[in-house]
């Protein structure tokens, strides 16, 4: 449904997007994961026809977007990162306007307005000015505004920035409903938990390039460890951290307070590790395990943390 082929965009000497390609089918959620400045928003801008690519092509249902009034834009809904709403107008007036941009008017517009307000749980606030809404409500209306013309492809640029957990979950529910309805969703975020929960396929971007692209399970296979073992030590001091890191099967070892965190290649090595610890001043109270995340994969691929960059 949505195809990006070798998209490139530079601003002066800065290559904001450098050869990005992917395909997203109907009923799929495709995630663009990367730190701020990775090129996600510029990529979305090119997909939506907001930014002209220096090279490459975007196609929707096999047709390229050509010009300001391209009919393909009718199939696209864009949820900007900003709260792109008129605070001075009511929710209904906002939706009426954004519907009109796609030719909706009269009874058809009213019907769509009811549909999207119900979807995002704001039907009872239709007549209220947006300026009176909470941040979470605005985020939901921001999503609703992109759905007025019932687009097949929905581009969501960090749609949960700055919202509380309740609103975030409500937005996730909305997106899952849209996915179930067969919509094609492209989702950018720098929250790995969101990407893991929602996306069928994820492309990790850094410095304008896709550095890995796969399903969540496929990406996790890029992680250098199969698990992390979290060991709560009895003593405040552990003098043998370097030796622990050098043990066979251990990829990484960090100590934070009394908690020792070991990245291991295989859980089969765990009994041997614990025995070694007991023999080297590492008496412990509790042992937990944690699976690696996309954060681990990003750190492994770039040497940097998603949130630190």
């Amino acid at each position: 449904m949505l195809t990006a082929e070798n998209l490139k965009k530079a601003y002066g000497s800065l290559r904001a997007v450098d050869g990005v390609s992917f395909r997203v089918g109907p009923g799929e959620v495709f995630g663009l994961l990367g730190p701020n400045g990775a090129g996600k928003t510029t990529t979305i801008g090119m997909l939506a026809g907001l930014v002209s690519p220096d090279s490459g092509e975007v196609r929707i249902a096999g047709h390229p977007i050509t010009g300001d009034t391209s009919p393909q834009k009718q199939r696209l809904g864009v949820v900007p990162q900003e709260l792109a709403l008129f605070d001075e107008l009511s929710a209904a007036s906002n939706l009426s306007l954004f519907g009109a941009l796609y030719g909706l008017s009269g009874a058809a517009a009213a019907k769509e307005q009811d549909r999207v307000l119900t979807l995002v749980g704001l039907a009872d606030r239709a007549r209220d000015k947006v300026g009176t809404f909470s941040g979470g409500m605005k985020r939901r209306l921001n999503l609703a505004a992109a759905l007025m013309h019932d687009p097949q492809v929905i581009l969501l640029d960090e749609p949960t920035v700055g919202v509380d957990t309740q609103s975030r979950n409500a937005i996730f529910d909305n997106l899952e409903t849209l996915k179930a309805a067969g919509k094609t969703l492209l989702y950018t975020t720098h929250y790995m938990e969101e990407a893991e929960r929602l996306c069928d396929h994820i492309a990790i971007m850094d410095h304008g390039k896709v550095i890995a692209s796969d399903t969540v399970a496929g990406l996790l296979r890029h992680a250098p460890v199969s698990s992390f073992v979290l060991i709560d030590l009895v003593a405040n001091q552990f003098a043998n951290l370097i030796e622990a890191a050098a043990l066979p099967g251990v990829v990484s070892a960090t100590l934070s307070g009394r908690q020792l965190r070991l990245g291991v290649r295989s859980m089969d090595d765990l009994p041997e590790l614990l025995r070694w610890l007991l023999g080297h001043g590492g008496e412990f109270e509790q042992v937990q395990t944690e699976r690696p995340t996309l954060e681990t994969v990003f750190l492994h691929l770039t040497g940097r943390s998603l949130r630190d960059t």
Binding site: V78, P80, E82, E88, A100, Y102, G103
Partner: protein, 420 residues
């Protein structure tokens, strides 16, 4: 068309939902226009309520001063009241009265002697507020005429005055031939004083002026509210144009531009709808402001109504294009606001909206013709109080439309279409 109309409706909804914007656009020009109109003379078809206050200090306490006082009180331009010297000085110093005239003791006799050259001229002191020099000059002129008439009337009609003058002439060292001629004149005046009705006239200035304000036509007085309301409407419309530009920049900052550009809309629809809504608001401002001026201050379109409407429409379009230009040139709302406000104030000042452009130095009058708002101001003046025909509206309309085209073209050329 649905999108175009929806965008225009949105602009109007936002504009009329913003109390501050509405007050600035509609109430402010009415209030300030009323003030300037009043200050610059108001509607002169009404009874003049701007009589100049003059304090009259009578140190003579004689018939000449009394006649002079009565004559000045008859003058429609003056509001004359008696005062003692020190209170008069204090009143003028404090700005409570612009002018005071002091008639010295013995003024009548001295003036009569001086009239015939047989004595020194008495001195009338005119105390005036330095910020009212024009009024002081006007009082001097009126006073000269009145003194001339009063003193000659008293001299020619009062036999005692003539007799006294003749007695003094006897002791004078004047050359004999001149003295003889004056003696003969006094004899004639003596005989003239015996005639019935003598002393009722006196010499007066041998001409009078007829002032005719060149307004729409004879009998139609100048109404300064016509100029002030036009000027203020122009000023606040231009500020509305600044808001149009800033509003477009804010769309970009608030991410709304991304939504608009993502929709299948042409650049013409996006910018044209903004220009159309600005033009509509501009026309509304002009309609409301001039309707108020008509109802409250009697401002009439004395000239061509069609020409007036044409100038209003052309200026509204120019204002809309000016707003688009600001949006195209400005990088951020904050940066654009300061520069646009300065440019607008300069344009308003040079248009003659605050003070009529004929008061500008001649070089500046030439320069201001490059300012579109000057053409709007001149055009509105022409169609209102000057009462000129549509042919006088054509050039201002053409200049305003041309300016709108230039501003619009630059705006389209320089506008950053891509979303940030």
């Amino acid at each position: 068309m649905t999108a175009f109309l929806a965008l225009v409706r949105k602009d109007l909804q936002i504009f009329f939902g913003d109390t501050r914007a509405v007050i600035m656009a509609f109430a402010a020009p009415i209030l300030i226009g009323s003030f300037f109109g009043y200050v610059f003379g108001g509607n002169q078809t009404k009874k003049d309520s701007t009589q100049m206050q003059v304090l009259f200090v009578d140190q003579e306490q004689g018939p000449v001063a009394k006649q002079l006082l009565a004559a000045m009180q008859q003058d429609a331009n003056l509001l004359v009241s008696l005062s003692a010297l020190e209170p008069a000085r204090e009143a003028v110093r404090k700005g409570k009265a612009p002018v005071a005239v002091v008639i010295p003791a013995g003024f009548g006799d001295q003036a009569a002697q001086a009239l015939f050259g047989s004595g020194p001229k008495p001195e009338i002191t005119v105390l005036f507020d330095p910020s009212h020099q024009t009024e002081a000059s006007m009082v001097r002129g009126i006073l000269t005429g009145q003194v001339m008439q009063t003193v000659t009337k008293e001299s020619f009609g009062n036999k005692a005055t003539v007799r006294t003058a003749r007695e003094r002439l006897k002791d004078s060292t004047m050359e004999p031939a001149r003295k003889a001629a004056l003696t003969e004149l006094f004899s004639s005046l003596d005989r003239y004083g015996d005639q019935p009705g003598a002393g009722s006239g006196g010499l007066s200035v041998p001409f009078q002026t007829k002032d005719e304000a060149m307004t729409a036509r004879a009998g139609v007085a100048y109404n300064s509210y016509a100029h002030s309301f036009g000027g203020m409407a122009i000023q606040f419309m231009l500020f509305m144009g600044v808001d149009v530009g800033i509003g477009l920049l804010l769309l970009r900052q608030r991410g709304l531009w991304r939504r608009f550009r993502a929709a299948p809309l042409s650049k013409t629809v996006l910018l044209g709808s903004r220009a159309a809504s600005a033009m509509l608001v501009g026309m509304m401002i002009l309609t409301v402001v001039f309707t108020f001026a008509r109802v409250v201050f009697g401002v009439k379109i004395e000239g061509s109504l069609l020409g007036f409407i044409g100038i209003c429409a052309a200026f509204s379009l120019m204002t809309a294009a000016y707003g688009l230009l600001i949006a195209a040139i400005g990088r951020t709302p904050e940066a654009a606001r300061g520069l646009a406000t300065l440019a607008t104030l300069l344009m308003v000042m040079m248009s003659g909206a605050w003070v009529p452009s004929f008061l500008f130095p001649s070089w500046m009058q030439g320069v201001t013709k490059a300012v579109p708002a000057r053409w709007a101001m001149d055009g509105l003046d022409a169609m209102t109080w000057r009462g000129l025909g549509i042919e006088e509206a054509l050039l201002p309309i053409a200049v305003l439309l041309g300016s709108a085209a230039v501003f619009g073209a630059i705006a389209v050329w320089r506008f950053r279409w891509e979303a940030d």
